[in-house]
């Protein structure tokens, strides 16, 4: 994970039509930990939510062949069950709940050492890519984390 760059997923382990599993390792040091919290570094809950949202986002991108972009719209039942600190190895899972017209719903959860860290139901607006640079960046990020990408 590169927390400052919002690169939350390190590697996609498996992806099919309805489910994605990925790995992410919390860095040993990050400016984020200087503020959250001094002397007691913890990954902020909002970044764990972002990690789950990205896993679901990559699942949707794969389903759509990277034709459109899922944007975070809503988080429901977001539960932060355990603290996560530097060096933790996370297993991030996303499962499709529903694919609607212009939106999609997925569940996400994070485990570490078999222990539940957090889970949530996440809604995405699915829109055309607003800029070609964004699509190129998403394809680049997906390739970086080991996903098969169109033309890759």
């Amino acid at each position: 994970m590169r927390l400052e760059y919002f690169q939350m997923i390190d590697r996609v382990v498996a992806v099919d039509a309805g489910r994605l599993t990925a790995e992410a390792t919390v860095p040993e040091a990050s400016p984020v930990f200087e503020g959250h919290f001094p002397g007691h570094p913890l990954v902020p809950g909002v970044l764990l939510l972002e990690t789950m949202a990205q896993a679901g986002g990559y699942l949707l991108l794969a389903r759509m062949g990277f034709a459109r972009m899922p944007f975070l719209a809503a988080v429901k039942e977001g539960k932060m069950r355990s603290f996560v600190g530097p060096g933790a190895v996370l297993s991030v899972e996303a499962s499709l709940v529903h694919e609607g017209s212009g939106y999609a719903v997925a569940t996400g959860r994070i485990l570490s050492g078999g222990k539940r860290i957090c889970d949530a139901e996440i809604t995405y607006r699915v829109l055309d890519f607003p800029a070609p640079e964004l699509k190129a960046a998403m394809l680049g990020q997906a390739a970086r984390i080991g996903m098969a990408v169109p033309g890759g």
Binding site: A74, G100, S101, G102
Partner: protein, 94 residues
Amino acid sequence: MASAFDRVADIIAETSGVARERILPDSHVIKDLEIDSLDFLDIVFAIDKEFGIKVPVEQWTQEVNNNEAPAEQYFVMKNLATRIDELVAAKAAG
């Protein structure tokens, strides 16, 4: 079984917090009930699940934005219920 109108009105009341008695056949979902786009996503998700359909919101929105259809055709409650009945019938017809 309750009508599509009643089922959709119940969903809107539960999802958005609008009082059920305010939701009338001539209510415009956006103008009268003040449902914003995010709440409408939730409502459509609940309708999709309740009726086992996929409400084509993107197509409807595009038609309205392109002046190919009046917004009332899709977003006034009685018309929305009719559109849902049509979608359910189309699905049943395969």
